[in-house]
Amino acid sequence: MGFLDITVGWFFAETAQIFFNAVAWIVAQIGYLLDYTVEKMVLEMAELVNGITAIDALWSTFRDLGNIVFIGVLLYIAIRTILNVGNSFNTKRILVRLVIVALFVNFSLFASKVVIDTSNVVALQFYNSIQVEECGESACNISHFFADVTNISSVQSPEALEALENEGSEEGANFKILIARVMGIVFLAVVGFVMAAMAFLLLIRFGFLILLMIASPLAFIAFVLPGTSDMGQKWLHNLFNQSFFAPILFAMVYVVAVLGAELANGLGGNGDLMAAILDPDGDNYGVILTFALMTFLMAYTLVVAKQMGGWVTQKSMQVGVKARNWTGAKVVGATAAGVRATAGRGGQKASESRGLKDAASDENRNAVTRFGARAALKLSDKAANSSFDMRNTRAGKAAGVDDGKQRSSGFRQVVEEKAEKRKEEKGMIERLSPEEKAKVERAKIKQEQADKSLEKAEKEIKKLEKEAKTRYEDAKENAQAQYDRVKNTVEEAQQQTNNELTDVTNNLKQVSSAIKKRAELGDKLAAARSSGDRRLEERIAARLNALTDDIDGVSNLEDLDTKQNDLQDRKSDLESRKETLQRRRNTVQNAYNDRKSQARNVYTDERDELKTKREVAKESTKKFKKKMDNVINVGNKRGEGFVETMLEQQSTLDKIAGFAGYKFDTTQSRANRDFALENIGDIKSKDEDSAGRTAKDRASSKLRNIYNT
């Protein structure tokens, strides 16, 4: 019965082993697939896409198709306008959008690539952060990270199997191995499923993004055509959703990695998974729990990444709409200014054209010429008076470019305003004495000098900033070089210690086993002696003598105990050395981090100081120029003698400020100053309060008391 049990147990255990190996092989292939997907379809996506010439070719085809659609839409708009069909406001709105999209459709592929590349670069940053430190001979990839964080490799543990075999009962061992294999298959399948899901989603992302790139011209067109803007929105939504899935996924994985290390330590989950399955006592539950928790978290990252991708898309699109409105308003405003300066100027000239006026009023010319000249004058007059600012129109408002800052005056009005201002300024300057005019000129030269000086100061500051950065980079490099040197030395020592420790542990096992067998054989020898079986006695004695054959430095059985003690001492020494080296390594790492952070702090301080200097120089120049402007303007307004008086007065006030160590105009916030200036304008008001005091009385009373409170 016992034999049958052992045979059946052995059969199931071996069968489970075969399945286990098959599942492990599949999971390994999934790991390779995931690594390949991440590497080629996320990290090196730009190179891969650039290599696929079909994308450009297909995109060009769709773009050309789009251009044909534009012509069709233009014709549609033209016919609607000619026949005066439908709402003219909608027609104008479509026309504005058509022009904008016709321009930008040529950049649709570039725009899509910018979004995708940005997401991939962000993904790369997180990917680099989640690398594991050691992966054997192969390069470290995300599958190594998976294996590391879930500890799945320990589901096949030779040490646990050996311990089980040494335990005794073959029947019980087979059963436990069977359980371990079945559980191992389940664990492997779970990890494999998560990795496969990740690889699949990234693969889908890649394919989807390529299709979105190719379809980008059509998506742009969809924004223009009535009733298809939803499709355009859908395209944009998918572009953002798919692009930002990868960085968010890696970011979540990074979070799990950082969290997982702490959790594993807390739960005691760093042991063998197989040993935990074979011997699920209280201490080993931590290993299984850690595995389960980490696998759940890894799977959950996929769900969160998909959800957050949608959120990022929504927010990005909202920001995009705001940016479009702002940029549109500025572009339209600038265009209007440009058209005012060109078409408006042309209109002004044409409306003042003697030839046109003569042609319009000359009775000797034929009716058609007179009509043409009158029409041209009317049109040019309109051009001269028009602001050309689309933000004033309903179409401009419809296109979302109305920022409330549009001009209503045309070129003619602008010219008249400028002429009036020049006339006024000229009149004022003529009221100054020659000496004051010279002073004003000098003040203007000083303003220019202040600008040049600021420019020089900025150059100097830039140079200093560059030097500070170079110093920072050098310090970082030095720290890195020193760290690498020491780290290598420590790592070599660690490697050496580990090797020696492995040897000593193996020797110790051998000696311990020999000691155990010596006791067993000793008992058997005594039994043989007592039974008088000489042959058995000789055989056992020979086996006893052979026990020391493979053990170095032991010639007889009595030396085994001494050897065991020596090896144990050596093992303790090596373990202690191992800990010391680890501490040393941590110290080196901390020292390196400190040096880097110190260098960074020094650099940040230097940079901030220079930034402050730059701001002070700018502010100082700006204030100086403003004061000079005030002096010139008020001097011009008031006439002879004022410029000199104000210069002298301000100079004295600044000297006082210099003695006191402050600046007048920095003592007040702009809001306070404006408030104060607004409130003193009513001093001449005759309105009386209940006590019969005027605003003037109240203000005067407050002002007179200001230094007494």
Partner: protein
């Protein structure tokens, strides 16, 4: 925020030594003296009082003071110029002398010396006073 609060806040932001120097000047008396000298009306005197306070508190600079006082008081430009000159001569220069004297006197004591204002750059004619006339024709 009330006007008085703004003025008090402005005053608080000024160094104590400076405020003391202004108090010691007995500003109302000086204003009244200028008023008598140029036969300013009560309302013109009040306006001058107000504008000088704003000037000394740093709320306005010299051109703004000149312009605002001129606009609100509606004085003739020739009278206005004389009043502005008097404000410089009878209020601001004595304040400078007083403050400078106090400053020099205290420089030997343990009073903390406030940091100097940002020095004007070399482009300001190579002097520490941006309003000083250049000595050569640059």
């Amino acid at each position: 925020m009330q006007q008085e609060e703004v003025l008090q806040k402005a005053k608080k932001n000024l160094p104590d030594e400076y405020v003391q120097a202004v108090i010691d000047l007995e500003l109302p008396k000086r204003i009244d003296k200028i008023s008598e000298q140029y036969q300013l009306s009560d309302i013109e005197t009040d306006i001058l009082d107000q504008e000088v306070v704003y000037l000394l508190l740093g709320i306005t600079d010299s051109p703004t003071f000149t312009d605002r006082f001129g606009d609100i008081s509606e004085l003739e430009n020739n009278v206005l110029l004389k009043v502005i000159k008097s404000v410089t001569r009878d209020i601001i220069i004595p304040l400078q002398e007083k403050f400078q004297g106090d400053n020099e006197e205290n420089s030997t004591t343990s009073m903390p010396v406030p940091p100097p204002p940002p020095a004007p750059s070399a482009g300001y004619g190579g002097t520490s006073d941006p309003y000083r006339e250049p000595t050569d024709d640059r």
